[in-house]
């Protein structure tokens, strides 16, 4: 009986969860669909019009005499209407409606409601943002114009050059520190650890100006080393805290038997601790990678906007600023920038969940 009841409620659970998932998915879906639509379509109709929907479609056109006076009643198809009515559209018999197509040339559309879908897809947006050559696009009014492509490929490589060391270096440094905090004895251990945790809450904006001044003095500004150092510093508190809570929970016997065999701290750390901490390293690694890949502020301040070192997020933010309403480029570029983190996330998802559990869930 119990089982039967649970089966009934399973339907309900699946339904509610499906609804929530749909809500979560719709904004991203909208971006993806928009990115394969033509520039004029994006500006003129919502992305959901690619699905079959009931909409007015022009079935016929009536051209009125050129000298029709718009201030008086206008006769169309044997009935009289005002100009305002024709502007907003007026319903006539058997479900049709009349609306101006071109008011100056006195052309009226006779429209009917029909099932329609706006299936006009294109890959031009992606070619444009990835290629970087000249591209012809069709503008909303039908004319064509040539536009310079945005060449995101270069920024893509730059972002990788920034992200990979900015992920590996802080995690390496943090794991050394976490090992020392958990298993070595030295004066000032507690104080230093508490300071590290307290630094978790320092908003990184306070560091931008003083660090920028130092970097300029040291010649680190505008190149990769500088941004690696910055990301390392800003990522260290969380990584150290997280890895400490994992490494300090490893069983003590492990170390004792290794010490008995005469292994040094360094050997124990590299041969024993690092392999054992793979889930934790992977999950904090994904976190740090997502954060660095998606970061805009640190890159903006420490790398600057020279085209040969510019990262993806900066290019996209620049597109928002300089092109304004060029949604077709923005949507495609945003989607390109999402691909890498999504790929990493789905590839390492298993580790992520397991590592997060080891780190912070203790029941």
């Amino acid at each position: 009986m119990r089982r039967h009841k649970r089966k009934g409620s399973k339907w309900l659970v699946n339904g509610i969860l499906g609804f929530i998932c749909l809500i979560w998915l719709i904004p991203t879906l909208g971006l993806f669909i928009s990115s394969v639509r033509t520039p004029s379509d994006i500006l003129q109709s919502g992305w959901w019009t690619i699905f079959p929907h009931h909409a007015w479609k022009t079935a016929d056109q009536v051209t009125l005499p050129k000298d029709t006076d718009l201030k008086q009643l206008i006769g169309v198809l044997g009935q009289n209407y005002t100009d305002d009515q024709l502007k907003t559209g007026v319903n006539i018999s058997d479900g049709r409606r009349l609306i101006w197509e071109n008011r100056r040339n006195r052309i009226v559309n006779v429209q009917k409601k029909e099932w329609t879908a706006n299936l006009n897809f294109t890959l031009d947006n992606y070619k444009n943002v990835l290629g970087g050559k000249q591209y012809e696009i069709t503008q909303p009014d039908g004319s064509r114009k040539t536009e310079k492509g945005s060449n995101l490929s270069r920024s893509f490589i730059n972002t990788l050059t920034v992200s990979i060391p900015s992920t590996v270096i802080p995690i390496l440094i943090a794991s050394f520190a976490a090992y020392a905090f958990s298993w070595m004895r030295f004066p000032g251990r507690k104080t230093m650890f508490i300071i590290v945790v307290a630094l978790l809450v320092v908003p990184l904006q306070v560091a931008l100006i003083p660090v920028l001044k130092n970097f300029t003095a040291l010649g680190l500004n505008g190149n990769y080393l500088g941004v690696w150092i910055a990301h390392t510093g800003f990522g260290l508190p969380l990584a150290t805290y997280f890895l400490y809570s994992y490494i300090s929970q490893l069983p003590r016997d492990l170390f004792e038997s290794a010490f008995m065999d005469g292994a040094s701290n360094f050997t124990i750390f590299t041969r024993l601790i690092l392999p054992l901490s793979v889930p934790a390293l992977a999950s904090i690694g994904i976190f740090q990678f997502l954060w660095v890949w998606n970061d805009y502020l640190v890159a903006l301040v420490f790398i600057g906007s020279q085209p040969n070192v510019q990262v993806l997020s900066m290019r996209i933010a620049e597109m928002v600023g300089s092109y304004g309403n060029d949604w077709h480029l923005l949507t495609a570029a945003s989607f390109v920038s999402m691909l890498m983190p999504l790929a990493v996330f789905f590839a390492l998802q298993k580790y992520f969940v397991r590592g997060l559990m080891g780190g912070s869930v203790k029941g």
Partner: protein, 361 residues
């Protein structure tokens, strides 16, 4: 005879102590100069830079540790921990600790950081309308944002646990975490987009019109509700984080305990409140803390969507504006310090919890 060997040893150790760090410094400086000035194919450049960046840090640790291992045991045990933590401590002090202390000092100085003004900046922050509205909005973010993320995350975690497509659902909810703020900004502009008239390309306005309502400029003119529409973006991004952790905790509840309650005739809702919630309270606390810290520092969402205009400023954006645009170091620093002070209680509460769980501190 023996003393001369010892002397030789000591000399050798001293030499190694000086030479190894020096050689490290010279080599890495040369590589740095080479990479800075080299004109290479971007792909080769990326590969070289990545190898150097990752390998370099490891070889520094390796070589310094080698020097320490040459020392007599007593000295080795004293010095080695510092080799392990020194890079972390140096970087943290340089990049976060010293700037934080400097900010505290600047918060007591005037706009140009010349004269000492005491608590004048702090008074201004709680009286100036613009600055105060940033504080108020930030409070809104913390309360509404955190509550929604944690409670929706909890509901989804419980539902997913009983559904027949758990993995898929969790991936979908978690996915926004992987999307950058800038890209999310573009995504949500397609939801909130507003043009006057009946032809809308923004989803929300299209829904409103199809229900017979008037289109709204959600993130700009619909004050003070526009803050709420921005917070929804945060909820969309962060709920996945709460859900993953809470879901893991729920799976840790022993099945017998739930079964026993069911046998006693408790309904699912009573089980949820009386058994599940108390059991996972530790996780709820740590998730809540993380999200509070995150929302207190919220910056990108507001910057990308409204730039802090239309009364949507939060502390971090106002700080950015004061510091970088109005060049008012005093106000900027004070805002940052207020933020810091606001986080301290959360932090203390958490450290205490950490100690309770046997973290050793």
């Amino acid at each position: 005879m023996e003393t001369s060997i010892q002397k030789q040893n000591r000399l050798w150790l001293g030499l190694a102590t000086i030479l190894v760090p020096a050689i490290n410094a010279v080599i890495h400086f040369q590589i740095f100069l080479f990479l800075r000035d080299a004109q290479l194919n971007p792909i080769w450049y990326a590969i070289l830079a990545i190898i150097w960046g990752v390998g370099g840090v490891y070889t520094i640790y390796l070589s310094l540790n080698w020097v320490v291992e040459q020392y007599p045991v007593k000295w080795r045990q004293r010095v080695q921990p510092f080799i392990f933590i020194a890079p972390a401590i140096v970087l943290l002090a340089w990049l976060l600790l010293i700037p934080a202390i400097r900010t505290i000092v600047l918060s007591f100085m005037d706009a140009g950081s010349v004269d000492f003004v005491g608590f004048a900046n702090y008074v201004a922050i709680f009286t100036d309308r613009l600055l105060f509205s940033a504080l108020r909005n930030n409070l809104l973010w913390v309360v509404i944002g955190t509550l929604s993320c944690v409670s929706i995350g909890l509901v989804i975690a419980v539902l997913a646990d009983r559904s027949s497509y758990e993995k898929l659902a969790k991936s979908i909810i978690f996915m926004p975490m992987a999307i950058s703020m800038v890209a999310s900004g573009v995504i949500w502009k397609f939801v909130y987009f507003y043009t006057p008239g009946n032809q809308q390309i923004g989803l929300l306005n299209a829904i409103v019109i199809s229900l017979g309502g008037e289109p709204q400029a959600w993130t700009t003119l619909a004050q003070p509700w526009n803050n709420l529409f921005l917070i929804i973006i945060l909820i969309w991004m962060q709920t996945g984080f709460a859900m993953v952790l809470l879901s893991a905790a729920i799976k840790g509840i022993p099945e017998e305990q739930l079964e026993a309650a069911r046998v006693d005739g408790a309904g699912e809702i009573r089980i949820f409140f009386n058994i599940m919630i108390p059991y996972i309270s530790g996780t709820i606390l740590s998730v809540t803390t993380t999200i509070i810290v995150f929302t207190l520092k919220i910056f990108d969402v507001v910057m990308v969507m409204t730039g802090g205009q239309y009364d949507t400023d939060v502390v971090a954006t106002q700080f950015y504006r004061q510091f970088f645009m109005y060049r008012n170091n005093g106000y900027g620093s004070t805002l940052a310090i207020v933020l810091l002070i606001a986080i301290i209680p959360v932090l203390i509460f958490n450290l205490r919890q950490f100690r309770k769980q046997g973290g050793g501190f």
